[in-house]
C-alpha cells in the first residue's frame, strides 16, 4: 500500500524521531511511504480556540495536500481526530464537504491502521522493558481506540505491559488549554503522572505525542524515573 505520512507540526519540529519511527515500521511491513512536504499543521489549535474560520482554511489546505493519497497515516490520535471528525464538521454545508468526508475515510491513526486496516498485530519488534499505556482522549473517545495499541504492545517481544490506575484519565494537555489554564492543567498531570509513576514502569507509551509532551514535561520536572515514548518508537525497536 502507498502510505502518505501525516506528521503533526510539533512532531516535525520537536520530536522528529516519532515520525521516523512511524515510517520505519510501515516500510518494514513492506509499504511505500511518502511524506508530502507541503503539509504543516492540521489547524486544531485554532479550531479548539473557537477560531473556526482560521481552522477552516487549514482544513481546506490539508484537503489539497493529501489529494490523491491512497491512505494517510498519522502518529497522533488527536491530529487524526481533527481530520477524521472535525474537518467534516468544519466544512459542513460548504463545497468541500464531500472531499472532507473522503479524506476522513482515508485517514488513520498509526496503531489503528496497523490493527484495523492491515490486520497486523505482531510487527516483529523487541523491547525488553516495562511499559504502561496512556490512552490519549482523542484516540480513546473520538476514534474509539482502546484495545488496538495494547494488542500491538502485547505482541512486542520482551515487553511487559502494566495498566495504571488512571489509564483513561486525561493528562491535562488539551493544546492551548495547558497554557491558558496552566493551574488546572498542572493539577491534572499531577494526578495522571503520579499514577503512571506508581506503576513502576520504565516507560509511559502512548499513541498521542501531544499527551507525551505534557506527561513527559511534568515527569522530567518532577524527576520521576519514567520516560515518555511513542508507540511507534516501541514498535520500531528491535533491541
Amino acid at each position: 500500500m502507498r502510505v502518505s505520512l501525516f506528521v503533526p507540526c510539533f512532531v516535525d519540529q520537536l520530536t522528529p524521531k516519532v515520525g521516523l519511527a512511524t515510517a520505519k515500521v510501515l516500510k518494514k511491513l513492506g509499504h511505500d511511504v511518502e511524506f508530502r512536504a507541503s503539509q504543516t499543521c492540521c489547524g486544531q489549535p485554532s479550531f479548539n480556540s473557537g477560531q473556526w474560520d482560521v481552522a477552516r482554511e487549514a482544513a481546506i489546505r490539508a484537503l489539497t495536500v493529501f489529494r490523491g493519497a491512497e491512505v494517510i497515516v498519522g502518529p497522533s490520535g488527536s491530529c487524526v481526530a481533527m481530520m477524521r471528525n472535525f474537518y467534516p464538521e468544519l466544512l459542513k454545508g460548504t463545497a468541500h464537504a464531500e472531499e472532507a468526508a473522503d479524506l476522513a475515510s482515508r485517514t488513520f491513526e498509526f496503531s489503528e491502521f496497523l490493527v484495523k486496516k492491515l490486520g497486523v498485530i505482531d510487527v516483529g519488534a523487541k523491547f525488553a522493558k516495562k511499559v504502561t499505556y496512556h490512552d490519549g482522549c482523542h484516540a480513546l473517545r473520538e476514534l474509539r481506540l482502546k484495545e488496538e495499541p495494547r494488542q500491538l504492545l502485547r505482541a512486542v517481544k520482551g515487553l511487559e505491559l502494566i495498566e495504571s490506575e488512571e489509564a483513561e484519565t486525561c493528562c491535562g494537555f488539551g493544546g492551548l488549554f495547558s497554557a491558558k489554564f496552566p493551574m488546572i492543567s498542572t493539577a491534572m498531570v499531577q494526578v495522571k503522572g503520579g499514577a503512571l509513576a506508581r506503576t513502576g514502569a520504565d516507560f509511559v507509551v502512548s499513541a498521542d505525542p501531544s499527551c507525551l509532551l505534557q506527561i513527559g514535561g511534568w515527569l522530567s520536572r518532577e524527576g520521576k524515573p519514567i520516560l515518555p515514548l511513542h508507540i511507534a518508537e516501541v514498535l520500531a525497536s528491535d533491541a
Binding site: 520537536l14 477560531q51 482522549c137 491558558k180 498542572t186 498531570v189
Partner: protein, 462 residues
C-alpha cells in the same frame, strides 16, 4: 475580562493547588466508579438504553409546545394549579404570593436546583418566612451559608469534622466523627419541622404529559415527607423537564440512578398527580406547580445545542470530569457545575460573561461518554468557544491565530520558523512570552532536535 472570569481564575488557582482537598474529592468519588460499573453491567445493553433515553427526551424537547400543553391540561384536570414564570423574579413572586395567600409561616424544602437558580431561599427569608432545607447535604450547605458544591452531592467537599463543628455551633449537639450519628442529628432536628411546616417546596425531575404527573427522585425520604405533611405543596420545575409517556420513566429512572450515583434505582421515585384526593387520608390541600423558562427557550432556539435540554441532572458528567475534580464545584460560580454547567450557563446567563467555562476544559470527552441521555457535552464546549469568538473576538486571539495561520499556510515559512524556534528555544524559555511562561512553570519541554522531521526525511530520501 468578565468579573465571573476573574473570580473563576482566582478560585480555580487556589483549589487546583490544594492537594489535600483534591485527594479528598477523588476518594469520595472513588466508590462511584465501582458501583456504577457494577450496575451498568446489569444492563443487557447500556448503549441501547442510552439511545432510548435520549430519544425519549429528544422527542419531547423538539415538540415542547404540544407536549407541555398536554401535560398542563392533564395536571390541571388532576386538581393542580399551574403558574408560569418567564424569569426568576416572576417565579419568586408567584411563590411569595402563594405563601402570603396561605398565611404561611414555616416552609420546608426538599432539594431543588431550580430553586437555587432563582435564589428562592433569600427571597423567602427576606419576606420573613422560616425556610429549612431538608436534604441532608442541602441542610449542611444552608447552615454553612454556601451554595451546593455538586448539584447531586451538595456537601461532598465538607469533611465530617467540619460538619460536626457546624452542628455543635448551630444545633448545640455533641461533637462526633461518625457520619451515621451526624445523619441522625439532622434527622432528629428536622422531624418536627416537617410536621409544623405550612408549605413544602420540591423540585421535579420529570413532568409526564400523558398523565399530568410530576416525578421526584430522591434517596433520603425528605421529599416524600415534604410533599406529605404540609398543607400546601409547591413544585418548581423548568419547562424542559417534560416527557411524553409514563413508560419513559421505566428507562429514565434506573438510568438516572445508575449514571448519577451508581445505584440500581434511587431510593424514592415518586409520582404526584394533584393534591389529596377524595378518600385519601393525608397529603396537601393545594398542589401548585411553577413552570419556569428563565432563558431555557434561548437554549431551545439553538438547534445545535438543544440537546443540552435533555439533561436529567444526574450528575454523571461532574463525577467523571477531571476539571471538576481538580477545581471543585464552587469555583464555577454557577448553579449547575461541571460540564453541563459550562455548556448551559453561557446560554442562561450570557456568553460573554461565562464563555471562560467552555475554555477551561481539555475537551477530554469523559462527560459525553458518561451522559445517559447522550448530550454532546464536550463538543458543545467547542461550539460555545466558536460562538464567543464570533460574537466578541479578542484582539490577542485574532492576532495569534491569524499570525499562526499566516505561517502554516506557507510551508517554507513554517520550516524556517521552526528552525529559528528550535535554535532559540533555550533562550525563548527564559523570556516572559505568553503561553510559554505558563507552560514552563511546571513542565519541561523536550530538548529541541537540531533537525526537523522534514529535513531528516529530505536528507534520507535524496
Amino acid at each position: 475580562m468578565s468579573d465571573a472570569k476573574s473570580i473563576f481564575l482566582k478560585d480555580a488557582t487556589v483549589n487546583a493547588a490544594d492537594g489535600d482537598q483534591r485527594a479528598f474529592i477523588r476518594k469520595a468519588l472513588g466508590g462511584y466508579y465501582t458501583n456504577r460499573d457494577l450496575q451498568k453491567a446489569r444492563y443487557r445493553d447500556w448503549e441501547m438504553a442510552r439511545d432510548v433515553a435520549s430519544m425519549a427526551k429528544w422527542t419531547a424537547v423538539n415538540d415542547l409546545a404540544n407536549v407541555l400543553e398536554k401535560f398542563v391540561g392533564n395536571f390541571e384536570r388532576n386538581g393542580g394549579v399551574v403558574h408560569w414564570a418567564r424569569d426568576a423574579a416572576e417565579a419568586r413572586a408567584i411563590i411569595l404570593k402563594i405563601a402570603e395567600d396561605a398565611n404561611a409561616k414555616a416552609i420546608v424544602k426538599s432539594k431543588c436546583m431550580t430553586s437555587e437558580e432563582i435564589h428562592l431561599n433569600d427571597a423567602l427569608e427576606k419576606a420573613g418566612y422560616g425556610v429549612v432545607e431538608s436534604d441532608l447535604g442541602e441542610f449542611i450547605q444552608q447552615l454553612r451559608g454556601e451554595a451546593p458544591y455538586h448539584f447531586v452531592f451538595p456537601c461532598m467537599h465538607v469533611k465530617r469534622e467540619a460538619i460536626s463543628e457546624l452542628f455543635t455551633k448551630h444545633l448545640g449537639t455533641a461533637p462526633t466523627d461518625s457520619p451515621e450519628e451526624l445523619t441522625m442529628i439532622a434527622r432528629r432536628h428536622l422531624r418536627q419541622l416537617y410536621i409544623d411546616a405550612d408549605i413544602g417546596i420540591t423540585g421535579a425531575n420529570f413532568l409526564i404529559a400523558e398523565t399530568g404527573q410530576i416525578s421526584i427522585t430522591e434517596n433520603e425520604g425528605n421529599a416524600r415527607l415534604t410533599a406529605a405533611l404540609p398543607r400546601i405543596h409547591i413544585a418548581l420545575s423548568g419547562i424542559e423537564k417534560v416527557v411524553n409517556y409514563l413508560d419513559d420513566l421505566s428507562v429514565l429512572l434506573p438510568m438516572l440512578a445508575t449514571a448519577g450515583a451508581g445505584q440500581p434505582m434511587t431510593c424514592y421515585n415518586t409520582l404526584y398527580s394533584g393534591p389529596r384526593k377524595k378518600g385519601e387520608c393525608d397529603g396537601p390541600e393545594q398542589f401548585h406547580l411553577v413552570l419556569l423558562d428563565n432563558a431555557r427557550t434561548r437554549l431551545l432556539a439553538d438547534p445545535e445545542q438543544r440537546d443540552a435540554l435533555h439533561c436529567i441532572r444526574c450528575g454523571a458528567c461532574l463525577n467523571v470530569c477531571p476539571i471538576f475534580k481538580n477545581i471543585g464545584g464552587l469555583a464555577y460560580g454557577t448553579t449547575y457545575q461541571g460540564p453541563i454547567g459550562s455548556v448551559i450557563t453561557p446560554h442562561l446567563r450570557g456568553l460573554k460573561q461565562w464563555n471562560h467555562l467552555s475554555g477551561a476544559s481539555s475537551l477530554c470527552g469523559a462527560c459525553t461518554d458518561a451522559c445517559p441521555v447522550r448530550i454532546d457535552l464536550h463538543h458543545h464546549l467547542l461550539h460555545n468557544r466558536r460562538n464567543a469568538a464570533k460574537e466578541s473576538p479578542t484582539l490577542f486571539d485574532r492576532l495569534f491565530h491569524n499570525g499562526f495561520n499566516f505561517v502554516i499556510k506557507r510551508p517554507w515559512l513554517f520550516a524556517a520558523g521552526g528552525r529559528i524556534f528550535r535554535a532559540t528555544l533555550p533562550f525563548l524559555q527564559k523570556l516572559p512570552l505568553p503561553y510559554m511562561r505558563a507552560w514552563m512553570k511546571t513542565r519541561d519541554l523536550p530538548k529541541a532536535p537540531s533537525q526537523s522531521f522534514r529535513d531528516q526525511w529530505k536528507n534520507q530520501n535524496v
